[in-house]
Symmetry: C2
Subunit: 456 residues, 2 copies
Amino acid sequence: MGKRRDRADGPPFSGEAPRETRDRSSGQGAPPPAAGLPGPAGSPSRGSAKTIGDVPMGAGDDTANAGIVATRYATVAEPPNELRLESGERLGPMTIAYETYGTLSERRDNAILVLHALSGDAHVAGRHAPDDKRPGWWDMMIGPGKALDTDRYFVIGTNVIGGCSGSTGPSSTDPKTGRPYGTGFPIITVADMVEAQALLLDRLGIERLLAVVGGSMGGMQALQWAVAKPGRVHQVIALATAARQPTQAIAFNEVGRQAIMADPDWNNGDYYGRGVPAKGLAVARMIGHITYLSDEAMHEKFGRRLQDIHDYSFTFSADFQVESYLRYQGLSFTERFDANTYLYITRALDYFDLTRDRRSLVDVFRDVTSRFLVMAFSSDWLHPPYQLKEIVGALRATHKHVSYYEVQSGFGHDAFLLEREKMEGVIGAFLASGARTYHFAVAGPRGTAPAASRED
Amino acid sequence: MGKRRDRADGPPFSGEAPRETRDRSSGQGAPPPAAGLPGPAGSPSRGSAKTIGDVPMGAGDDTANAGIVATRYATVAEPPNELRLESGERLGPMTIAYETYGTLSERRDNAILVLHALSGDAHVAGRHAPDDKRPGWWDMMIGPGKALDTDRYFVIGTNVIGGCSGSTGPSSTDPKTGRPYGTGFPIITVADMVEAQALLLDRLGIERLLAVVGGSMGGMQALQWAVAKPGRVHQVIALATAARQPTQAIAFNEVGRQAIMADPDWNNGDYYGRGVPAKGLAVARMIGHITYLSDEAMHEKFGRRLQDIHDYSFTFSADFQVESYLRYQGLSFTERFDANTYLYITRALDYFDLTRDRRSLVDVFRDVTSRFLVMAFSSDWLHPPYQLKEIVGALRATHKHVSYYEVQSGFGHDAFLLEREKMEGVIGAFLASGARTYHFAVAGPRGTAPAASRED
């Protein structure tokens, strides 16, 4: 375990986006700082971040960092070309927040899209300023010489629609009313997130991705990419996820939603500019947070140790370190995350089901052309290995190229954000082999892959 | 699975006390209907309940029921003999609610004390009236010919102190103020619960129990009995429990407490006679409820089935059966349970640690004289089998008489309330063998067991 894991009340070891301070302005209904058509991103000041202090979990140990990066914004789906959502509603214009690391090759054949989980964002790697306390949420995997090697690949991070970190979501201004959408925002699904990402890639001039990569909800997006856009994805890396949201996860999400909606400050979602439903959101986050850890990890990290006292207080104070830690996690989350986004994103998770149209998973995967790396984590009880194996089994039943890897880890669901050493070799090798086969699998000059490109 | 388990929104398959309607009057600060020194209970109208309709899980399949019973009330620890609590505070007078089934033998050697879990009560078996919809919470195990055979044993159920079902708790009237205690009620512990039960047994004239039996928090009380009152307990049956509250369980309880305390209707615990903090309590119950089930049980029972709709609503309604079920569970719980009691009882759970004084568990068990049956349930993730095995290992290390039995069940923690067929033979045989050795283990005529009575 890294040394950071020994602190009971510290901010890391968090569910999805281990970061203490965040610029929330773009996520709270204010217009994003910039929008428009960008070209491939400029080179970050690579390697310079290596000397910055307080390097977090796993990052920068033996490799350079992704450097100083900035979030960019693209506007897509402008009327009358709004995105038609899975619900039938239309949404547009949409702002899509994104970041890039590394350089897009001339042949545009080295782009990797990294997809975030529930509370993540576009800031996948690097730092926004030299004095940033923490880098992006998957910095351990992305940078020169790392698994997602920015000397070789052009890595893109992007905030999902419905989010609160720069992309259009319930806290954004509804152009029709001039006020935040609130619960007037349409229900979005994982499929809608992917459609919006495809529009972003169109704007970036990237027809076909070398890979999509994601864990948890990011893994669901990655699978959705493979199924919905088979010609645009050469490789899929899906971590700690499932082909459909399992019942128990729906249950936990529903309790979180009920906690938020029970908070009188939620006010039916109309709270922007007033007090936010912090207590309800904190409870929701605490519930979620427990599901990201494991019995074993909690026992090792906290046990029954008391927080700054020598004996029970015989009160309802946070006597135990684990109580203090959870309260901190809940509170700090409310400073960076929008309660309505929590409702919308958990709903998207719960609606996710590749077999929703009643086809079998084997049928669903029949026309995919991507190569797959599916990775499970032994102590993940939110998405236990059997859920990943179900994906692998269905892919193998249709003779797809699929590798399965089960990481032995005590860290629970969070392991995909922590187990750098156990993941980087497998992911790095898989990406490198995909880079070698990318053009074999491509028929047309712009990279549209025909069905015949399937590799068994 | 029994037929009741197929209903998504029905009340059974609940955490601890599967009952739809409850008489809450005695739990909400009103004085109990009766108090005083009772003798052994009268015979219930045994067998007559067999013909009552709507027989619940497992009960009455092939055996008679415990009949019509009434809750009784004893007053103990009257000033100046208040109970000195583990916190150092004093509590008294206390009302203790209890029920009895079967007949106390002349030698007073057939008494079994059944201890309830978080949301249980004294109503362990039988019905309060012929038209009662549901019997007591462990009716499947208690009655003529059942594992706790009321033709042979005198079974006692009792509500813990701090509870809200007849025993003194935060909703009771504080004699000093004439108003409900609220959060002025002292913090109680599992050890305090046991001390109060010992006072009840004194009043019933029972010096030494044939057995204490309990699951979950009831199992903690059973272990505490063995450690704190070694001369008074011949046998201990501990199910789905632990020698100390595990970290993950503390975490879930803390989130439940935060949900209650976040509800403005909680009002620092002073809500009696006004609106109760129903939303917060419902969220707390929903969290707890998930921990009583299992991933497998939830998947089998609900899967991703929709509730009364053919397709997603694309709203935040309870589209999924599991959402509807949880909302129902949360709401119905608020109609029968006191929010402050939820705080106090979960605190007692979290404080439970037989090794709190830093002795090893082996040392803690060194002077116990009881025979033990320890039972784990394979899919219980609140108290997984390894936590029960720890108890067994420590008992064996000091050469105690201990049997371990692991029930294969998909029902999770709730299994101890459901798996009648897999439990009754083991429990029945263990009790019968204890009944045969009871007097060998007793030195004095009143049943005080010397250390020499230990059976290896």
